[in-house]
C-alpha cells in the first residue's frame, strides 16, 4: 500500500462497504493545516469527505456524522485529527 495514502485508502474501503455510497470523495487537506498542533509530520491528519448515500435517509445531520465517525473510529484514534464532512442523500445531492 502507498504509505502517503494509507488512511485515505482505509477510510474509502470502510465507508464504501458500510454505506454503499453513490458518490464518495476523499480529499487529503492536511497540508492546509500544517504547523498546528493536530497536524503530525506524517500527514493524513485532515480530510474533506463528501458522501452521498441513501443510508443517510431520514437521519439528522448529527446522526449522519456520528455514523461516519463510528465507521472510521480506528483511523480517527490512530492518526486522523479532523474530518470536514458533507453527508447527503441522493435526493439532496443536487
Amino acid at each position: 500500500m502507498d504509505n502517503a495514502t494509507e488512511y485515505a485508502t482505509r477510510m474509502r474501503a470502510k465507508l464504501t462497504e458500510a454505506l454503499r455510497p453513490s458518490r464518495l470523495e476523499i480529499e487529503d487537506d492536511s497540508r492546509r493545516h500544517a504547523g498546528h498542533a493536530g497536524a503530525g509530520a506524517e500527514g493524513e491528519t485532515h480530510f474533506n469527505i463528501i458522501i452521498v448515500s441513501d443510508a443517510f435517509e431520514g437521519k439528522s445531520r448529527v446522526a449522519r456524522q456520528r455514523q461516519v465517525y463510528d465507521i472510521v473510529a480506528d483511523e480517527l484514534r490512530e492518526r486522523v485529527h479532523a474530518l470536514s464532512l458533507k453527508t447527503l442523500t441522493l435526493a439532496e445531492d443536487v
Binding site: H36, A37, Q65, R66, L76, A82, S84, L85
Partner: protein, 112 residues
C-alpha cells in the same frame, strides 16, 4: 470519564444558553474550525460562553465522551448538542441556525 469532568460539562451546558467547546478562546481561536464557529456566532450576534479545551486535557477528552463526538469544536444550545463546525456552518448558510436559536429563546441580532 472522570465524574468531576462530566459534572463540570453538564453544569456548563445547562447553566449557559449557548456554549462552545473550542480550541483557544473566542478572541484567540487556536484552530480554523473553532474560529469558523466563533465567526458564525459573532455574526449572528449571539452571546455565548467559549470554553478552551486546550487548557485541560481531561476536559478535551471528556467532552468527546460526553457528546459521543470525536472532534472539537462542539456547540451546545440550551443543553442540547447541535454539532461541530460543518453542521454549524451548514445550518448557518440555510438559515436553520438563526431559526433554531430563536425558537429556543436565544437572542439573535444579525450584524449588517
Amino acid at each position: 470519564m472522570d465524574n468531576a469532568v462530566s459534572e463540570r460539562i453538564k453544569n456548563d451546558v445547562e447553566s449557559n444558553d449557548v456554549v462552545l467547546f473550542m480550541k483557544g478562546t473566542p478572541v484567540f481561536p487556536q484552530c480554523g474550525f473553532s474560529s469558523a464557529v466563533v465567526q458564525v456566532l459573532t455574526h449572528l450576534g449571539v452571546k455565548f460562553k467559549g470554553i478552551d479545551v486546550l487548557v485541560d486535557p481531561s476536559l478535551r477528552d471528556g467532552i468527546k465522551t460526553y457528546s459521543n463526538w470525536p472532534t472539537i469544536p462542539q456547540l451546545y444550545v440550551k443543553g442540547e448538542f447541535i454539532g461541530g463546525c460543518d453542521i454549524v456552518r451548514e445550518m448557518y448558510e440555510t438559515g436553520e441556525l438563526a431559526e433554531m436559536l430563536s425558537t429556543k429563546g436565544v437572542d439573535v441580532q444579525v450584524k449588517a
